[in-house]
């Protein structure tokens, strides 16, 4: 399909939701850090609470939406929400310290405050996919954008035919939320992991036994696991989050299973300053990632994903 044939509304198969909070777009609210959990080296989950109870009472979000976290004097960053939408007063954001704002965030402590605007953006089509087989594929920190969806799906597992999480990382220490897999599995979510490779000296079933750091799982690309899944074309919805080339590869794997491109969703990440279609920084082809996304159907976004440096 040529880009010109693509619908002018690339998010057309996604639900119409408020992608911007009402009122002044630069209005932010004070949040206090309740707790910090180091998930993997360099990646922390921040539990945040609004100080203003009225703000807390009206705050709602859907899985896949993001907040703008603002450290006054440092800057602001778009971070997806990683906590359960059923409990919107307890917000969790999983963040890798990779830049100005996220480095400064990593230096904060429980009790410190920061500012928050949100939620923004189009969510994963979780509510629209009841009765279907849901496959969530995450590369690295991409799982942070899917954790809210996984929590929701685990809670409402009976409403879905199946829920499968496929998570790939560079190496075993990069797998996210491993302490929660038991809970997810207990709720009926299938969890499968794979790593690109193993650091030198990693114990495996072939060369060692009884080692706590032993890796007895799969080594390969996340697409290897996706290829092995049984995906029924008429009832599978696939949600994918990771680096752009990984999402393209996963989406094409799903298409080879005859899953329609309209049922494959990806979540994009771009530079953002405003999150409300005003700053122009997050443009990707004709869309604004902040509000037309970050979740797009692959059918709509594929023509642009295939163009380098767009």
């Amino acid at each position: 399909m040529s880009p010109a044939e693509c619908s002018p509304s690339p998010a057309n198969s996604l639900p119409a939701v408020a992608t911007v909070p009402a009122g002044y777009p630069w209005r932010s609210h004070t949040v206090r850090i309740e707790g910090i959990v180091e998930e993997i080296p360099g990646v922390q989950t921040y539990d945040l609470r609004f100080l203003d109870q009225e703000v807390a009472g009206r705050y709602r979000f859907l899985p896949g939406q993001f907040n703008m976290l603002h450290l006054p004097g440092i800057g602001e960053a778009a971070i997806s929400i990683s906590s359960d939408p059923a409990n919107p007063q307890q917000l969790a954001h999983t963040v890798r310290a990779v830049g100005n704002v996220t480095d400064a965030l990593a230096r904060l402590h429980p009790g410190d405050t920061l500012m928050l605007r949100g939620p923004f953006g189009r969510p994963w089509p979780v509510a629209e996919s009841t009765g279907r087989d849901l496959v969530l594929v995450a590369g690295g920190l991409g799982l942070a954008s899917q954790r809210a969806a996984i929590r929701e799906l685990a809670r409402r597992r009976a409403e879905y035919a199946s829920v499968t999480v496929v998570h790939g990382a560079k190496e075993p220490s990069g797998l996210l939320y491993t302490h929660e897999y038991r809970e997810w599995k207990a709720a009926g979510v299938v969890v499968r992991t794979i790593v690109d490779g193993l650091p030198q000296g990693t114990a495996t079933t072939e060369n060692a036994a009884g080692d706590a750091a032993m890796w007895d799982g799969r080594v390969g690309l996340v697409t290897d696991l996706v290829n092995e899944l049984t995906m029924l074309s008429d009832r599978t919805t696939l949600l994918c989050c990771g680096p752009d080339p990984m999402m393209t590869a996963v989406a094409h794997a799903a298409l080879r299973h005859d899953v329609p491109a309209e049922q494959v969703f990806v979540s994009l990440e771009r530079n953002m300053a405003c999150a409300v279609r005003h700053c122009g920084l997050c443009q990707f082809g004709p869309v604004f990632v902040c509000q037309d996304g970050p979740v797009f159907s692959f059918a709509a976004i594929e023509p642009y994903l295939s163009i380098p440096h767009l």
Partner: protein, 410 residues
């Protein structure tokens, strides 16, 4: 009929009363050139900050205007790719220059603006509300292309789910005195984008210049109210139907002349833009070799985005006091020609000049249509004039169109 018989009367009983009688919306009156000063005075007395074109640093720019004598009477501008020269022309009127580097964008969406204040007290951050009051703006001398640019920026900042508060406040109180162009620069191509040369809508008052006087069209109730106040100082004479027709004809003649312009050796080439199917043309040619070719000339200097009346990209900086406990957030213009625009995780998504020029052109002429239901180009030609190497948006589109598989055989 004696001219004095045409002194404007409040004859329409359906028109909302303005206190004192003044010309009605849609009516035309004569403003002798010497009424420009009382007009400025009326606007300033109403508490408005009046902006008008003036000569500064070798160009006509928009600046605060108190004296009608500061208007660029007798100046015309010669414009071409990477070329702008003012020339004195004793025949030229007040507004026979075309457009300079400034546009309404400079005032409604200022290059730098505070969007929030934050204070840390007892270790807790909070946002405080003390955005400054600003006087309402009145701008004299805006053209058809400027009004089109304003309508486009309205869609960006007011037309979506989120409304920009600063733009909204300034836009609501904006008073516009438009001018119908009597000449076009070679870089002007508003006739081919449907944005000019006439100022057709969106103004409070609109002036068409004749020797010694302006035919003034009343475009809004606010415009009528200002003229009612002006009428207290100077008698206003209504235009006859034939005089109105003569004013309209002046714009039509210019538009026809722009369509008929031919290239003349030794003179700047007249521009026009074929907008037919332009969205699909550009999106079907995202990997056209022309992007690499233009990148060999483009300096990525950002001038085109700064002078463009519709470019709206911005970024936000943090400005802290010495204690670090008081912070202002400042929004400032950004440009898709910088590496910072598409920076992610320490690298830029658009690392090449070719990818950045493609972003600018395809957004301006194609993406805008998806995003806002309108092209982002008014045909003002500023990006051509102020490009230091004279890259011409119309020429780049024509080059892609000429070699597009999409248009083959068309």
């Amino acid at each position: 009929m004696h001219a004095d018989d045409r002194v404007v009367q409040d004859t329409d009983p359906l028109r909302p009363t303005q206190g004192r009688g003044g010309p009605a919306v849609g009516s035309w009156v004569w403003l002798p050139t010497e009424t420009l000063q009382p007009l400025i005075d009326v606007l300033r007395t109403d508490g408005m900050r009046v902006i008008g074109p003036q000569v500064a640093d070798g160009a006509v720019v928009y600046r605060d205007l108190a004296e009608a004598g500061d208007l660029p009477v007798g100046w015309i501008d010669e414009q071409d790719g990477g070329h702008y020269r003012l020339q004195h022309d004793p025949e030229a009127g007040f507004f026979d220059h075309v457009v300079g580097p400034h546009s309404l964008k400079n005032f409604l969406f200022p290059a730098r603006e505070t969007i929030g204040h934050f204070l840390r007290e007892d270790g807790t951050w909070r946002q405080v509300e003390d955005l400054p009051e600003e006087p309402p703006l009145a701008v004299i001398g805006v053209r058809g292309c400027d009004l089109a640019g304003l309508a486009i920026q309205d869609r960006v900042f007011l037309g979506g789910e989120a409304v920009d508060p600063g733009y909204h406040r300034r836009r609501e109180s904006l008073f516009l005195v438009a001018v119908n162009c009597r000449r076009a620069a070679a870089t002007c191509f508003c006739h081919s984008t449907g944005c000019g040369p006439a100022a057709s809508a969106g103004f409070d008052l609109c002036l068409t210049e004749f020797p010694g006087r302006f035919a003034c069209e009343v475009g809004s109730e606010r415009g009528a109210a200002v003229l009612a106040k002006l009428q207290e100082k100077v008698p206003l004479i209504a235009c006859t139907d034939s005089e109105r027709a003569a004013a309209a004809e002046q714009s039509e003649r210019l538009e026809q002349a722009m369509h008929a312009r031919q290239r003349v050796a030794g003179e700047p080439a007249p521009r026009s833009l074929n907008t037919e199917g332009i969205r699909d043309l550009l999106y079907d040619n995202l990997e056209h070799p022309r992007w690499e070719e233009v990148a060999t000339r483009c300096l990525s200097c950002t001038n085109c985005t700064l002078v463009c009346p519709t470019c709206f990209c911005s970024s936000v900086s943090e400005v802290a006091d010495l204690s670090g406990d008081a912070v202002q957030r400042e929004r400032h213009w950004a440009s898709c020609f910088t590496l910072d625009h598409a920076r992610m995780h320490g690298t830029s998504v658009r690392s090449s000049t070719a990818s950045r020029y493609r972003q600018w052109l395809t957004h301006k002429l194609a993406g805008w249509i998806d995003q806002f239901g309108t092209s982002g180009c008014t045909g003002c030609g500023r990006c051509i004039t102020w490009c230091p190497v004279g890259i011409d948006i119309t020429e780049e589109v024509a080059a892609i169109r000429a070699t597009s598989p999409h248009d083959e055989g068309a």
